[in-house]
Symmetry: C2
Subunit: 310 residues, 2 copies
């Protein structure tokens, strides 16, 4: 399987991602072996986020075609952490995959959430590593919803595109959820609807309020009508411009943030595993005051052998 | 100091809480020693939460007098995690403390937030333990704001009173923030304002929507006008009724939740300490793919000696 993966067999890639999703240690082992055999080329990791109905899928499809026209190999990772079901997503995905089916340079994968976002977030990061190692030039990370989970997931991308529409309330909700702060590029999609210019002014006003000094970098605002590919090229150029603005140092800083995010998730997973194995014993002692929380942590971390992973 | 604490000297209690706030290990050591010398009597821990301006302070003051009339010793822990400043709180606190100054059976303490909520939440739990050990019959835990931090902090109380007012939007915001689900008792304060009955009907309707079967326990709704002590006795009785409904088993379950919360916070603190000490070394290796997150965690947790606490 390692050989097939290294040879560029997409079925090997799909199998690896499934192993990573399942938390199977053969997945991480394979990823490690593959890393030892191949130099990682950094992909451009582009997060696309926004409320349901903002037209993210259509937008991403447009971006895929634009990247393909440049000769780039493209992967899309679609995530819906808010939905425990995948039925709808799978149907939609099939239609989308159909569009790109004949194209070997495009790989689409949707990620079923399994309740625990912690687990999902980790899987997303390791899947990104797998896609990067496989050799895609561009990886789109598409998340549905507006909330902390989107902020978290977006933090693993090199560039975050926040998609809004002139339809009422989008911007307000996004502001409240803190998603505006993570935008590197704003995309006002469905810009043929009334209110697109007003929304653009609102975003600009919010940016001015938030600007700390004249060196603050303002996220570019691009209007698109994804359904007829209007503005797609401009959007891609805005992402490119952000990459130039970031520079090598900026991108490395983002990658270190991604590593920190992954490590934090991994530590929390390990802590949960450790606690779950012994909580029936430790919590009553803590509750009765026989043990302090610090002592309990010491006992958990250093008084017991490392947990056996499933 | 241990002797003074055990003898009931409030200055020793104040000093212990300051040590716990500062994360000084002498605090946890003293708490442990005190536990070894004294049997813990469970206090009634009552969380009071709601948006700023809902009248929580006045309400708590009323409850203090009502508890004192029953001959109970009362402590109040006031927390404002949303504010990085304590100036305003300190002024307000002084006025409040003035009211109860002559009364040895009342102890008020406000907690300055120090940025990291994790740290604050842990301090709150250990301070609760200190107050409980000191021998208060009732501890009010007063939090300002409506958000995840309030939900977290409220989860360490035996009873959670959510304070709302007829003034517009309170209920909607609380519903959105998930604070309605944690209410054991609803208090509609400023019930002399128009809209109190409407708000009560809205809460009841929301409860009916959320009810899973006929055994669902509905949080009681009490209307108060704290400024003239109207409804305070009824509110206290509703809290008593909730304690009866919980029973010993229910209260123990809540205490185990509090222990789980504290332990989770302590694990996260330990993980942060571990990571902070070695992130400059580990993150670049993770970013370059030389190390997997699981390997990094193993190295953090088991490859290094336990971190030295400050």
């Amino acid at each position: 399987m390692l050989e097939r993966f290294l040879a560029g067999d997409e079925r090997a890639l799909a199998r690896l991602i499934s192993l990573l999703e399942a938390g199977d240690i053969r997945g991480t082992a394979l990823l490690r072996d593959a890393r030892a055999h191949k130099t990682v080329q950094r992909s451009h990791v582009i997060g696309i986020t926004g409320a349901p109905g903002a037209g993210k899928s259509t937008l991403t499809d447009g971006l895929i075609f634009a990247c393909r026209a440049r000769g780039q190999r493209v992967a899309v990772l679609m995530i819906d952490p808010s939905s425990p079901f995948t039925g709808g997503a799978i149907l939609g995905d099939r239609i989308r995959m159909g569009k790109h089916h004949a194209d070997n340079g495009v790989y689409l994968r949707s990620m079923a959430t399994r309740g625990a976002l912690g687990g999902l977030a980790r899987t997303v990061v390791s899947t990104l590593s797998a896609l990067e190692l496989f050799g895609f030039d561009v990886i789109f990370l598409e998340t549905v919803g507006v909330g902390q989970s989107e902020v978290d997931i977006a933090s693993v991308a090199d560039h975050v595109v926040v998609v809004l529409t002139p339809a009422g309330g989008d911007a307000v909700q996004a502001f409240k959820a803190g998603i505006m702060e993570i935008a590197d590029v704003f995309c006002i999609n469905k810009a043929d609807l009334p209110g697109a210019d007003r929304l653009q002014r609102e975003i600009r006003a919010a940016q001015e309020l938030g600007a700390h000094d004249e060196h603050t970098h303002w996220a570019e605002i691009v209007q698109t009508v994804a359904s007829n590919t209007q503005g797609i090229t401009t959007l891609l150029e805005a992402i490119d411009a952000h990459r130039v603005w970031l520079g090598e140092a900026g991108i490395t800083a983002r990658r270190l943030e991604r590593a920190r995010f992954e490590l934090n998730q991994a530590i929390q997973d390990a802590a949960r595993r450790l606690l779950a194995a012994r909580e029936a014993e430790l919590l009553p002692r803590l509750e009765r005051g026989e043990l302090s929380a610090d002592d309990a942590v010491r006992e958990l971390l250093y008084g017991a052998p490392p947990p056996v992973e499933s």
